[in-house]
């Protein structure tokens, strides 16, 4: 596979209907580039969940994706409220999402566990009141 590629997206925190657009673009591009379907699937789910989280909890932010022949690195940064207790947030089923988000089909407390499940490594840097950066790597 060719040169390393970088993608940058600004994720709109106000419009839930457009959440996930960046993930769709990345998925299409990886498919065009001929990456293995299993890696594409992992990237798609991990990034889409992350993007949804940024919109639900973080008020939007930035998504940066680096792709080379060995790995795909996804860095999602928001400037939202931060996560007070990361260990608790990682528990399947734990969610602070409000009912209006649940009515949209999300907020079941599966986002972060899913991101961890589908990435080969995941790191969360967060500070209450400042924001959160999630870095996920998927090996090819």
């Amino acid at each position: 596979m060719a040169e390393p590629i970088h993608f940058h997206f600004d994720v709109d925190g106000q419009d839930f209907s457009t959440a996930g657009e960046a993930s769709v673009v990345v998925k299409k591009k990886l498919r065009q580039l001929g990456y293995p379907p299993e890696a594409i699937r992992k990237v798609s789910i991990a990034m889409y969940e992350g993007e949804i989280n940024m919109v639900i909890h973080g008020g939007g932010g930035e998504a940066d994706i680096d792709v080379d022949e060995k790995e795909i690195k996804i860095v999602l940064t928001d400037h939202g409220p931060g996560i007070a207790d990361v260990e608790q947030a990682m528990q399947a089923g734990f969610s602070t999402a409000r009912d209006n988000i649940r009515a949209l089909g999300f907020g079941a407390g599966m986002g972060l566990p899913n991101m961890k499940k589908y990435s080969d490594s995941m790191k969360i840097d967060t500070e209450v009141g400042k924001g959160t950066t999630v870095t996920m790597t998927i090996n090819i």
Binding site: Y48, E49, G105, F106, G107
Partner: protein, 117 residues
């Protein structure tokens, strides 16, 4: 099973993707919670749902699903249908409720050879 067969079994109206009705699917998933679809779906090609927003289509796209059926005769907006068209996903709506729709498809053999279906 051909997607066309699903349409017949559910008495569904096709809203986009007519040309894809000949494609084969082996299993389906029934959920209004997209978080669960993202967490548990593996090879299910069809999503039955009563949830009506564009994230239904994006979730289906992310999971490589090829057909979305809106149950209880819910009518998706033009925006949702257009998004599905762009993703190459068949969209239909059925008068049946989710439980009935799932039952009809399961009874007809969809997903029954699949252990985790």
């Amino acid at each position: 099973m051909e997607i066309r067969k699903i349409q017949e079994l559910l008495g569904a109206e096709v809203l986009c993707g007519e040309e894809l009705l000949g494609n084969e699917v082996s299993s389906a998933c029934c959920s209004d919670m997209m978080s669960d679809v993202l967490a548990y779906v593996k090879d299910q090609g069809v999503l039955l749902t009563g949830l009506l927003n564009s994230q239904v289509i994006r979730t289906a796209d992310m999971m490589d699903m090829v057909c979305v059926v809106f149950v209880r005769n819910k009518m998706p907006t033009e925006e949702i249908v257009t998004l599905a068209k762009d993703c190459g996903i068949v969209v239909m709506r059925s008068e049946l409720r989710a439980f009935e729709a799932a039952g009809v498809l399961y009874h007809a053999g969809l997903g029954r050879k699949n252990d985790d279906g």
